[in-house]
């Protein structure tokens, strides 16, 4: 079973298209292999590119000589950072987040220093990939190897090797005098912390560690670029955001954004990792130098070593609770690894750490710290999973100490409408309580778990979701269908979920909408496919485009019926006028071409109320006490999903997020040696869960419509990754009596604890 049916509200029952499960519009191309991905792109005269990457985690580049590579027959161009324009410390606003352009440029091609193994240094374009790779080997480079610093706590030490001589800590708003690896220290506070802990009957305090993990998208990064003789650049690539890729490429190359066109290819996963650019500027400069189109495709090892994973972290939680089970105070300290350049998601982690609860007195300190690892990037609810692992494990321990039911404790302290988060804002209507109740009432929870070394755990999680800008354009065809053009690259079935909102508004079938994702020259500005925003914001743009079509059809019908437009209205897929006149959408579409201008709907949206999302997960595990291996026996995830536009895709998002969270919890980690070399940079060694490892993830869709959207949509894609590691840790404790406070809870680490416990017990 994948879905546990949950009662629909009156509000969600009224729809005809929304809530159904039509076949996705791009389904045939995907299952027949005809869909074109970035590496499938072929252009006449196209060259293959290869990159030189640093074998060291931290080193100064003493000299770089590309002359031999340039002379190799078949080589057409070699580029280094000297071929990129000088970027200042200017910070570019990318819609979702911002980026320091100097850091971004140095990350694309290193200048005088390499900051992590795999850091790109130079690139070659040649007749084929073999010549390009051979030429890379001919580049002479001399390094001054420096000691790397690979862990956040080591990097925070005063005598730690420094990554950047000019990085000085922003210490609660004051810039420090001396350089440091700590880019920023910030704080949230509310209430009276001291009084809150004084009122507590039980205080639990622990430190937690999480490992660096990768999004693990199947398709590697790629870019094919043509720098035309007229100065215009076209980039074909796999990206979560064509417009942000266009802006980053233009800013790094110092060309106007109108000179860059980004064409989205199909995307084989992203999860936040395909927002930042790595290859497009390099491919573009290679194209400019060679006069030919150039394609760059990363290997899996390149992806692991040189693209943004999510950070490792250290988190300390102190929680105080009175005898009645009320949380009286909470204190958190979070230090996140930013990788080679500042910008970890510690801000979001700090905002999320206490976000599921009403905590009157709280303080949270956050630290953004650079280390000799690849620059981190977003990964589903960035920063929140780390924080939830720590907080939800402490909550479980508190419940045990006070002998409180974990469900009742959560219900008693749950954030509700009106609760003020520690970072300040007050919640609007949210569904945290409903997700806990859904788990409490589900068959999984009601069924006792029996058997040796088995345990059950639960955890909750929160993510903000975002709105941002989207554009949609819809053209009415004479056969009664609608061509829908949009700028949101489709990662999780959003062609369908956006088309369904257009169809619902027009009162037509989802199959009568033909959605197309287009390039940056062919649609208005659209922010990234990320932050769980596309079904919410681009769906809103499609809704507006449909309303625009309705208005035009009303005007047209009034013209046809020779009456005032105020006497005509659009309802239920038809235009209704005086004297019983009626035209269905299809009838009007057929008449449109002979009665006036084409009917084209336009929608541009910048919605401000995305509505946060909550999830509560329940897991049963069995621990093999001889090996430390954890087997997931059963898993149920309940989530406040707003209105589920296409329930199958909502379930898919929850299942996918939960599986990634399980991988993060049980197995995944960047494993480095002392020199800073990742020792598991292939899928053989970087252990992600597969279908063989897991049972079906059951989902409960709790529909609490978002009042900030015409159809009540909330983002659903990120929050399901937040609870799994904590739920697993709590289940492992039930099974073994061992509290795991470090991720991943992999067999060697868990076995170590099991053996340690046995030794302590004298077994």
């Amino acid at each position: 079973m994948a879905t546990i049916e949950h009662e629909k509200t009156a509000e969600t029952q009224k729809y005809k298209v929304i809530g159904t499960r039509p076949i996705r519009h791009d389904g045939v191309d995907k299952v027949t292999g005809r869909a074109l991905y970035g590496a499938d792109k072929r252009l006449t005269g196209m060259l293959a590119g290869a990159m030189l990457r640093s074998p060291h985690a931290h080193a100064n580049i003493k000299s770089l000589d590309t002359s031999l590579a340039e002379k190799l027959p078949g080589v057409h161009a070699v580029v280094t950072s000297a071929d990129l324009p000088d970027c200042t410390d200017k910070v570019a606003n990318l819609g979702e987040g911002s980026v320091n352009l100097k850091h971004l440029s140095n990350n694309v091609l290193a200048g005088e220093k390499v900051l992590y193994r795999g850091h790109a240094i130079a690139a070659v374009a040649a007749d084929d990939i073999h010549i390009a790779q051979e030429a890379v080997k001919l580049i002479k480079i001399e390094y001054e190897v420096l000691p790397p610093v690979l862990h956040v706590l080591d990097a925070m030490q005063e005598n730690a090797p420094l990554l950047h001589d000019d990085l000085k800590t922003d210490e609660l708003g004051e810039i420090a005098d001396q350089p440091s690896n700590v880019a920023k220290h910030f704080r949230f506070e509310q209430g009276d912390l001291e009084a809150g802990f004084a009122a507590a009957d039980v205080v639990v305090e622990h430190e937690f560690k999480t490992a660096t993990v990768h999004q693990g998208y199947i398709e590697p990064h790629n870019a094919t670029a043509l720098w035309n003789a007229d100065g215009h650049i076209t980039v074909w690539m796999s990206t979560q955001g064509t417009f942000t890729a266009r802006q980053q490429t233009a800013e790094l190359l110092h060309v106007p954004v109108s000179h860059v066109k980004v064409v989205p290819m199909e995307i084989g996963g992203g999860f936040g990792g395909k927002i930042s650019v790595y290859l497009p500027p390099v491919a573009a400069v290679l194209s400019k130098k060679s006069g030919r189109p150039v394609q760059l495709v990363m290997s899996r090892t390149d992806v692991f070593e040189a693209t943004g994973p999510t950070p490792g972290s250290v988190i300390r939680i102190k929680l105080g609770v009175d005898k009645e089970g009320n949380i009286t105070a909470g204190e958190a300290w979070l230090a996140y690894e930013a990788g080679a350049y500042p910008g970890s998601p510690v801000g979001a982690g700090a905002m999320c750490v206490f976000s599921c609860y009403d905590i009157p007195n709280a303080k949270v300190d956050g630290f953004d710290v650079v280390v000799n690892k690849p620059r981190t990037n977003a990964y589903r609810a960035p920063g929140a999973t780390n924080a939830a692992f720590a907080m939800e494990t402490v909550v479980d321990e508190i419940c045990e100490k006070l002998q409180l039911d974990p469900v009742e404790f959560r219900l008693k302290n749950a954030a509700v409408e009106g609760t003020r988060r520690v970072d300040g804002p007050v919640y609007p209507r949210i569904g945290m309580v409903e997700t806990i109740e859904a788990i409490r009432d589900c068959e999984h929870f009601q069924t006792p778990l029996e058997g040796k070394h088995r345990g059950r755990g639960m955890a909750t999680g929160f993510w903000f979701n975002i709105g941002l800008k989207s554009t949609a354009q819809a053209t009415v065809n004479p056969d009664g269908t609608v061509g829908l053009v949009e700028g949101s690259t489709d990662i999780g079935g959003t062609r369908a979920s956006i088309a369904m909102q257009l169809a619902e508004t027009l009162g037509i079938a989802a199959e009568d909408v033909v959605p197309t994702v287009v390039d940056t020259d062919s649609i208005g500005y659209t922010d990234v496919t990320g932050g769980s925003r596309v079904t919410f914001a681009t769906g809103w743009a499609a809704y507006l485009a449909a309303i625009d079509i309705q208005d035009q059809m009303v005007e047209r019908a009034a013209k046809i019926w020779d009456c005032d437009a105020t006497k005509v209205h659009y309802e239920d897929g038809a235009i209704h006028g005086p004297d019983g006149n009626k035209l269905t959408f299809k009838e009007m579409a057929a008449k449109a071409q002979t009665t006036g201008e084409p009917i084209i709907g336009r929608g541009s949206a910048d919605p401000q109320q995305p509505g946060g999302a909550f999830g509560t997960h329940l897991v049963d595990v069995e621990v093999d006490v001889d090996t430390g291996k954890v087997t997931v026996l059963r898993y149920t995830a309940a989530q406040d999903v707003g209105t589920a536009i296409h329930p199958a895709y909502v379930e898919g998002q929850i299942q996918g997020g939960a599986v990634q969270g399980i991988g993060w919890g049980l197995n995944e980690e960047y494993y480095y040696d002392d020199e800073g070399t990742m020792r598991n940079s292939t899928y053989l060694d970087y252990r992600m869960p597969t279908t063989y490892d897991l049972p079906m993830i059951d989902t409960i869709l709790v529909e609490v419509p978002n009042p900030g959207h015409p159809y009540g949509v909330r983002g659903v894609g990120e929050v399901p990754i937040v609870p799994p590691p904590a739920a697993l840790a709590n289940a492992i404790y039930q099974a073994t009596g061992i509290r795991m406070r470090e991720l991943p809870m992999s067999p060697p680490k868990l076995l170590h604890e099991i053996l340690g416990k046995a030794k302590t017990n004298g077994a």
């Binding site: 609660l172 704080r187 949230f188 506070e189 990964y379 007050v426």
Partner: protein, 87 residues
């Protein structure tokens, strides 16, 4: 009047207030008012006249993309938060 919440890192500039009520119609007005009462605070929020990179404005719990132009109602709450990027 709208309530402006002072980030913990700026409270030393604001006589340790964690929130103040200001007569302001939008975020720009609110920051101008803050600067009048607590000189130096605007430089920390809007250096060079634009919102500091990495900072986001939340009004009544929602992140605003309108920045300094975001309107404030008489009961509005204004927060300055770390900008959050999603995946």
């Amino acid at each position: 009047m709208p309530t402006v919440f002072i980030p913990a890192s700026l409270r030393q500039l604001a006589d340790d207030h964690d929130r103040v009520e200001l007569d302001a119609a939008n975020v720009r007005d609110a920051i101008d008012e803050l600067e009048q009462r607590f000189p130096g605070i605007a430089e920390r929020l809007v250096p060079d006249g634009a919102l500091r990179p990495g900072l986001a404005i939340a009004v009544d719990g929602n992140i605003s993309s309108l920045g300094l132009l975001q309107k404030l109602g008489p009961e509005s709450e204004l927060h300055f938060l770390p900008a959050v990027g999603g995946g």
